[in-house]
């Protein structure tokens, strides 16, 4: 049973010269306990997909096509009050910068207790117990004492642990984690990645992990969706996509990542840059940079096709399989 399904989702923003689609025709699904990585360059639409799922697209932008279902029920057309009850209770969020996600004038405990009491019918004392328990679970030492301190008294890594506790304390089914380790140093990033994985395993919460870092995806995610210019170009299990990428963008991206190990003379590079949302070409958006482009690529958008295990949006694949 899938927990979340997104079908043919398009999010558009009105601009001076017509509407601009931030994401187009995005289809994906997430099962309980699964960590789905969303990877892509800045502007590829990965954060926008997360924001659409949690209902946080800023007007005048909005969903113009497609639907989002959580446990079978549509959540893309809910009224703001109804969506607010889902946010936090069923879908939690972790953002990039732990300092700005926390309220600086409330203690960590007040923020946790408020969140718990908003969503669960618990007395203040019970909510406090639960808050302390969550601080312990995310690895805050001496939680009984730390609960009454303010966010600025925590280090960057500890703050991100608090943000994770806040996202999970009402026991949501799904968490959207948008670049949760980007603001952290590598040694702390490793701790946060391991924590997310452990919590997903223990609580059965599904995670959509949005990041630009393939390394983080490799260490954390079960499946990965690669986005380019507002569309998913390849989706599949991490092992499949990272070791045997099918889309020319994914394989170019994998080759261009510098690695630790034998040093190449020249790094493989993809020429050019991703088109802006208002200047995407007619056919496949990657065609201008693609070493394998064909005539059809310039005219027709390739569809995302394949199996549960792995789907690719590329005319090259259709050619081969047909």
């Amino acid at each position: 049973m899938t927990l979340l399904t997104v079908e043919n989702l398009t999010v558009a923003f009105p601009g001076r010269r017509g509407t601009v689609n931030a994401i187009e025709d995005v289809t994906l699904s997430v099962s309980p306990g699964e960590i789905l990585g969303m990877v892509g360059e800045s502007g590829a639409g990965k954060s926008m997909t997360g924001a659409a799922i949690i209902g946080l697209i800023e007007p005048p932008g909005g969903i113009t096509q497609g639907e989002i279902r959580l446990e079978g029920d549509r959540i893309d057309n809910l009224r703001p009050e109804a969506m607010r009850r889902i946010r936090g209770r069923k879908i939690g969020a972790i953002f990039q910068d732990p300092l700005t996600s926390l309220n600086p004038v409330l203690t960590v405990g007040e923020q946790l207790i408020e969140t718990i009491q908003t969503h669960l019918k618990l007395s203040k004392a019970d909510a406090r117990e639960r808050a302390i328990d969550w601080l312990r679970r995310v690895g805050i030492p001496a939680p009984e004492a730390r609960i009454d301190t303010y966010p600025h008294q925590y280090s960057g890594g500890m703050r991100q642990r608090v943000v994770i506790a806040l996202a999970l304390c009402a026991e949501p089914r799904l968490v959207i984690a948008d670049e949760p380790t980007t603001a952290l140093d590598v040694s702390v990033q490793a701790q946060i990645i391991a924590l997310l994985r452990r919590l997903a395993r223990e609580t059965g919460v599904a995670v959509i992990l949005v990041t630009h870092d393939m390394g983080v995806i490799a260490e954390t995610a079960d499946r990965v969706a690669v986005m380019y210019a507002g569309r998913i170009v390849e989706v599949g299990s991490v092992a499949e996509v990272l070791t045997a990428p099918k889309h020319p963008y994914t394989s170019g991206l994998m080759a261009s990542i510098p690695r630790i190990g034998p040093r190449p003379d020249v790094l493989a590079q993809i020429e050019g840059a991703m088109p802006r949302p208002n200047a995407r070409p007619e056919g496949c958006a990657f065609a201008p940079r693609c070493p394998h482009k064909m005539d059809i690529c310039l005219q027709q958008r390739p569809k995302l096709e394949g199996s549960e295990e792995k789907s690719v949006a590329c005319h090259l694949i259709e050619e081969v399989s047909v």
């Binding site: 690695r259 040093r263 020249v266």
Partner: protein
């Protein structure tokens, strides 16, 4: 071995964070200092790349600023091709400063948004007087634009018309416009997407080969370091803890902190390692731990590490600041298990 192009010895920079005098008088607080750079020694041979790596707050960017004269050292020496830079300001002496240029991290903040690209690139040539004739200068700008992979027509555009990677190419063109020998690159690819990062790294290696440039490269990304460096210096809380040829850092890291860094880098080939064990975070630099700064996080720490500052001593072809390594306690197999 020739004499190094740059030689840095005992470099220190501390920032005074004390309350104003009167406040201190009433509250009884002591003066507070952050030792951002706390006695750093290194040298760079002509035509090679030294990378400084470390986590935020380790002082690597402060070293860059000290070299460029953007801030002044509290103590120590920096000799560039025989010329002492300590005590000199950003533009002085001009004949030496012309030979040293810098590339900054954020290509959105480091280019003046109101100037056309041609004027941005021509500015250093103008201020150092390398091309006094305006038409000569313009010709040189066009050549530089093409050299870094843009076109001469791009000189008439404004920075906002370019993507991040293209802007970084403009920064590079500006940096090499005065024909420098030495470039300080402070996280030049951190703000870029990976597919663009590869373009810029390749361009920088090509420039080094063609122009014989010497780089000081500052980054937190060990994989980038592996691609670009000849030597690597690992910094922790203002001190160099290990300085070694690049291959050696990756093949046989000595200092426990270097090993921790290498263990924790997310790697696309090492899926789903169990990684919750490297404990702790970088401590507050205002009150660094006594003795070796790394001792609270170090699996090999002893009483000596907690009280006595380790010296930066040669170890094989590298230099390491660690009691455990110097006492021969840092056996690799044991440490990996502990981490």
């Amino acid at each position: 071995m020739s004499t190094p192009l740059l030689n840095v010895t005992g470099l220190k920079k501390s920032f005074d964070l004390s309350q104003p005098f009167l406040n201190r008088l009433f509250s009884g607080d002591e003066r507070k200092f952050v030792h951002a750079v706390d006695g750093v020694d290194f040298s760079i041979e002509r035509g090679t790349t030294l990378s400084l790596v470390g986590e935020s707050g380790c002082g690597k960017s402060t070293v860059a600023k000290l070299l460029m004269g953007l801030t002044h050292p509290s103590d120590g020496n920096m000799r560039f091709d025989g010329n002492e830079l300590a005590g000199m300001s950003a533009g002085d002496p001009p004949d030496v400063r012309r030979r040293m240029q810098m590339i900054f991290q954020d290509p959105f903040a480091s280019l003046n948004p109101r100037w056309r690209v041609a004027r941005i690139i021509a500015e250093p040539m103008k201020s150092f007087g390398t091309h006094p004739d305006p038409s000569e200068r313009r010709k040189e700008v066009d050549r530089l634009l093409e050299f870094v992979g843009l076109s001469a027509a791009d000189g008439e555009k404004f920075p906002h018309e370019f993507s991040g990677g293209q802007r970084q190419r403009i920064s590079i063109a500006r940096a090499i416009s005065t024909k420098p020998e030495f470039l300080v690159c402070d996280e030049p690819t951190s703000a870029l997407d990976v597919s663009v990062q590869a373009q810029i790294l390749n361009l920088m290696r090509e420039l080094q080969r063609e122009l014989g440039l010497t780089y000081l490269f500052i980054t937190h990304d060990l994989a980038v370091v592996n691609y670009i460096s000849d030597y690597i210096g690992v910094m922790y809380l203002g001190r160099l803890v290990e300085l070694a040829p690049a291959e050696q850092i990756f093949a046989a890291p000595q200092h426990p902190y270097t090993r921790l860094l290498l263990e924790t880098v997310p790697d696309i080939t090492m899926a789903h390692r169990d990684m919750e064990r490297p404990a702790g975070e970088v401590p507050n630099p205002i009150t660094p731990p006594m003795g070796c700064h790394f001792n609270p996080r170090c699996p090999l720490a002893t009483d000596r590490c907690r009280t006595e500052k380790p010296e930066f001593l040669p170890y094989g072809s590298s230099r390491v600041r660690c009691h455990a390594v110097q006492e021969g306690r840092a056996d690799q197999a044991v440490l990996r298990e502990d981490l």
